[in-house]
Amino acid sequence: MIHDSVIRPNLVTGDKTLHDVTTEICRPIENKPSMSWSIGFSISVIFLGLLGLTLFITEYTGIGTWGLNKSVQWGWDITNFVFWVGIGHAGTLISAILLLFRQKWRMSINRSAEAMTIFAVMCAAIFPFFHMGRLWVGIYWVFPLPNAFGSLWVNFHSPLLWDVFAISTYFSVSLVFWYLGLIPDIATVRDRAKTAGRKFWYNFFSMGWTGSVRTWNRYEVVSLILAGISTPLVLSVHTIVSMDFATSVVPGWHTTIFPPYFVAGAIFSGFGMVLTLLVIARKVMNYQDYITIGHLEAMCKVVMLTGTMVGLAYITEFFVAAYSGVEYEQYAFINRATGPYWWAYWSMMSCNLIAPQVFWFKWARTTPWFIFMLSVVVNVGMWFERFVIIVTSLHREYLPSGWVMYSPTRIEIGIFLGTFGLFFTCFFLFSKFLPVINMSELKAILKNRE
């Protein structure tokens, strides 16, 4: 019944039985939080408080608290938005695309990567909402709602509106996918629950799951459909984000390479963040048998491939600008590499194109501390990529009279750091209250079935 490959090593090491998987993965839920969890959670909550404070100041005083000016109308806000949306791409890629490709190694990491997707999209959504300044009227500007201002409808020609639809669809579909995957595992926790609170809540969210074969039969069909529709969805989201730039006439933005380039970049940064989190999580939660070096290695290969694709896109942009003969376009790129923001450009180049090339070496792909360092480098590089695209293109557009410099204020920096607080607070809560690894899927690939 189970077709084992004799060549491939086991995806789960340590000769686990079905019951071992349940007890080990339910351990954080059923026990008091560890010291490291409590410290990490407290720090995250402090940063979450910073987010609340800086957003309050933004709303109370106005958008003037940010460093934006007449030329650079998008600064850290949209940089951070694209950064977080990009991070949100790994989860659905792992659970949907790798499911369609029957990559079984996804099973140990898909749950946490999907959770990451949801939290990252939440962080991302903060920026476009707050950059509108007046939140209370913003609702009519982004959603097609009837309103009291006459026939003030949204404009469906605008990529900014497509973005609203893309991001909200992506968020809600990812949530559905994640929740459906969680139901069997929540039922496992319910059936092991000893306290009244746990019995109630896990019963509430398990929706009466029993593990009936008739249900499993439908469940598998539903998973396949959701994976099938999420695959084009995940590709569409960053394509549409890139259209926010590509459909404009700003030199440096107006390029047709943006959609594939952004999608590759999103997968690159998403895997970067998954590696950052999981290298630590597997150590702290003692899940080395589930998230093995093999898993890390596979992810490193994806990082290397997508990093190289992004690097190729950077170079292609230069070539196309040179070949186009449009002097504005040419200037935009020369300005990126040699202008006042040269340091951002070269940080991006070295972090995204050059650094991941070390993954050609097996040692680099299989040494956790090194992978962790490199994943942080990838995150930094991808943040700089968005900063370079947005700020260097805007700060010197067509008319030299509009040329300015941009730097963020303390409030903008606070909001950005605060979103890390939100992200990690959500992730810590997730790791305490939900099974971090998909138990039911993992059980299906165990070799020790006694």
Binding site: L18, W153, V213, N217, S230
Partner: protein, 200 residues
């Protein structure tokens, strides 16, 4: 539409075979099914491939629901954009036509959105899943952990219970139980030993 077999209480007596080894479980279910026993359902902690064949289950028709919901999403997006851009207040922006390729992203996104939610809701309805519903099909507390359960209806006159329980034990069952239903969600379970008699 709803399969009455799903409800264990529709049958007066039900025998449960509880297993710990998936391979043995699969073989036994296939054997019991071939014998002509009335298998109501099986409960497994993970999707056990091949079991639907052993039980004689058909492929789910949920994709039909997904397709209908997808079409609905597409039509909703088309209606929304037509009403807003070309009917209620015609907006001419950059001299572009009101109806055009700029509709595609929203058409696509809403199709996906409706398909996903429609599929999930259809799945919940079909399985009668609801928040907070405590299932009566919890035969063994470890059926979501490491045990596999087969439920066989033993109502029919010609059922040879001792032969059935012997067959389950022979196939590798660690426990066999029999449930007698008195009414909805009102039942009593007893343990059976390998010659079909009740263990006190």
């Amino acid at each position: 539409m709803i399969d009455s077999k799903l409800y264990l209480d529709k049958n007066k007596t039900v025998m449960f075979g509880i297993f710990e080894n998936p391979e043995k479980f699969l073989d036994t279910v296939a054997k019991v099914n071939a014998k002509g026993a009335n298998i109501l359902d099986c409960y497994t902690p993970f999707p056990l491939h091949g079991i639907e064949k052993a039980m004689g289950l058909k492929r789910s028709r949920l994709p039909i629901a997904s397709f209908i919901c997808g079409c609905l999403g597409f039509l909703s997006a088309a209606t929304l954009q037509y009403y807003i851009m070309a009917y209620d207040w015609i907006m001419v922006i950059g001299n572009k036509p009101s109806i055009g390729v700029s509709w595609v992203p929203v058409l696509f996104e809403l199709t996906i959105l409706f398909t996903a939610f429609g599929t999930a809701i259809a799945f919940f309805i079909r399985n009668k899943m609801l928040h907070g519903k405590l299932p009566m099909e919890r035969i063994d507390m470890r059926q979501t952990d490491d045990r596999l359960v087969v439920a066989i209806a033993t109502d029919a006159e010609n059922t040879n219970k001792s032969e059935l329980s012997a067959m389950l034990f022979e196939g590798g069952a660690v426990e066999v139980k029999e449930r007698t239903n008195h009414g909805y969600d009102d039942f009593s379970d007893v343990m059976i030993n390998n010659n079909g008699t009740v263990i006190a």
